[in-house]
Amino acid sequence: MALFEEVAGILREVVGPCGGCPPPITPNATLEGDLRFDSIDLVRVDAALAAHLGTRVGLAEHVRGLELDAISGFTVSDLVDHVHHVHHPDRTGNGAA
């Protein structure tokens, strides 16, 4: 869950207070629907992740390559999985150590 908390922190920074309230960043929250992401937000999170992790994550590219419903339904959990896959391929067992 450490990675989830890191990602959630970045999302909170990008999203900012929503009408004065901190947005509920849960694993099942969708970026587009629940967090009101637009294409600019996606690029900002991409840049923030790259700065934080010290490596390019290609989030915007990944999401834009998906089917419409997969983009609309892309959740915080999907984002964490993507970062995990890109950033820690060794831990998933399918990347070089």
């Binding site: 999203v15 900012g16 207070p17 929503c18 009408g19 004065g20 587009e32 629907g33 009101r36 992401f37 637009d38 294409s39 834009r64 390559g65 998906l66 089917e67 419409l68 419903d69 983009i71 609309s72």
Partner: protein
């Protein structure tokens, strides 16, 4: 004299440009008629317009934002309405015998009917959603969109090898914007700018309330009433409440949504937009193309809080032109909104940039340029030569 038939969806933002265009054509001595759901378009067009009714089919209300809203507008409105109305549109073309059919980009039944009946037709882009393929950086989404049009073509029994992009006429493509506002406007579209016209049944306005010594802000986020819109309106009201010594603001909103406003703020369900804009210094808008263009046509800069469809595109166009700022519709709070409003009101550069867009609109020619292009198409493509295709 030529005959023109407008095929329009039941949406005010798409019908309004055809009113000014129809008037320009009529002033040149041509016959104009409309085809669409009379229940929705008659109140916009007035009692004297010739309407070929398609009937009205209940559609689920449009809501949401982002790609979900784009899916919704195609799957729940454009595609089912085109399938439902196609027989009536074909009958209208046969009855009205137009020289040119003018087809809104979100009324693809008009494109199919005109093609099947061999009548020249022109595309009219009343939004920026289909200009320059904004979904192109999402290849699977773009494939889905083309699949929806292909589905319509196939279900209409049209020959597979004749399929074309139903949003783009091979004869003439008109768009109600210019490159100064919409950088993605393709070169094969004629950007005529906004087509503004006096509308029937405009409401009155308390003109005496306006204080000449203050700046004036108009806040209009469309007609959709939902929690997110109400939150936004309340945040704007909170943003403007401490600014009573420098401005007055008019909210286009049901007064009950904004109770207990201070004396320098007023909420009205409807306003006479075109009469009011010459007195306005800033428009706060959701970024619908009509509102954005009406503001800029008066040289008024904007703060744009886009919700869905082409609104983010228009918001980015305003920012790129230097004619205003973009804020988050669902997220901006009173403090951010106050900063955006005071920045735009306080920096003359935004007004200068808005005046440059206004100049691009004036050069583009609006209704007169669109009417001239349509008359040219009618003159070079006599419809009688093509009225031979089978309608079966």
């Amino acid at each position: 004299m030529s005959r023109f038939l407008f095929v329009v969806p039941p949406l005010a933002g798409h019908v309004n440009p055809t009113i000014g265009l129809g008037a320009a054509l009529a002033a040149r001595g041509h016959d104009v008629a409309w085809c669409g759901p009379e229940l929705h378009i008659r109140p916009l067009l007035g009692p004297d317009a010739v309407v070929h009714p398609t009937g009205t089919r209940l559609h689920r209300p449009q809501a949401g934002h982002g790609l979900a809203a784009i899916r919704s507008v195609w799957d729940r409105f454009i595609v089912p309405f085109a399938r439902f109305s196609l027989p009536a549109v074909e009958k209208a073309v046969l009855d009205a015998r137009p020289d040119v059919v003018v087809v809104d980009q979100h009324s693809p039944a008009g494109a199919i009917a005109a093609h099947r009946l061999g009548v020249p037709w022109a595309t009219l882009a009343a939004s920026t959603m289909e200009l320059g393929e904004p979904l192109a950086d999402m290849p699977r989404v773009l494939a889905w969109l083309h699949g929806r049009m292909r589905h319509l073509w196939d279900k209409a029994g049209m020959p597979a090898d004749e399929y074309f992009d139903l949003r783009s006429s091979p004869y003439l493509r008109l768009a109600c914007t210019t490159k100064a506002l919409t950088g993605a406007l393709p070169d094969d579209f004629v950007g005529v700018g906004p087509i503004l016209a006096a509308r029937p049944g405009q409401p009155d306005f308390p003109w005496d309330w306006l204080d000449q010594g203050k700046q004036h802000v108009l806040v209009s986020v469309g007609t959709l009433a939902d929690d997110v819109s109400e939150r936004f309106l309340r945040e704007v009201a909170a943003a403007l409440t401490p600014l009573g010594d420098q401005l007055q603001a008019v909210f286009v909103a049901p007064p009950e949504v904004l109770p207990d406003l201070p004396a320098h703020l007023v909420a009205l369900p409807r306003v006479p937009m075109l009469a009011l804009l010459p007195r306005v210094d800033l428009v706060v808008s959701h970024g619908g193309l009509n509102t954005v263009c009406e503001s800029l046509a008066h040289g008024v800069p904007l703060v744009v809080a886009p919700i869905r469809h082409d609104q983010p595109i228009n918001a980015n166009g305003v920012v790129a032109a230097g004619a205003g700022l973009r804020v988050g519709f669902a997220r901006a709070d009173a403090e951010q909104l106050r900063a955006a409003v005071t920045t735009v009101l306080g920096d003359p550069a935004h007004r200068v940039a808005a005046a440059q867009v206004r100049q691009s609109f004036a050069s583009a020619g609006g209704a007169d340029a669109a009417a001239a292009a349509l008359v040219d198409l009618a003159t070079r493509s006599p419809a009688a030569a093509g009225m031979s295709r089978s309608t079966s």
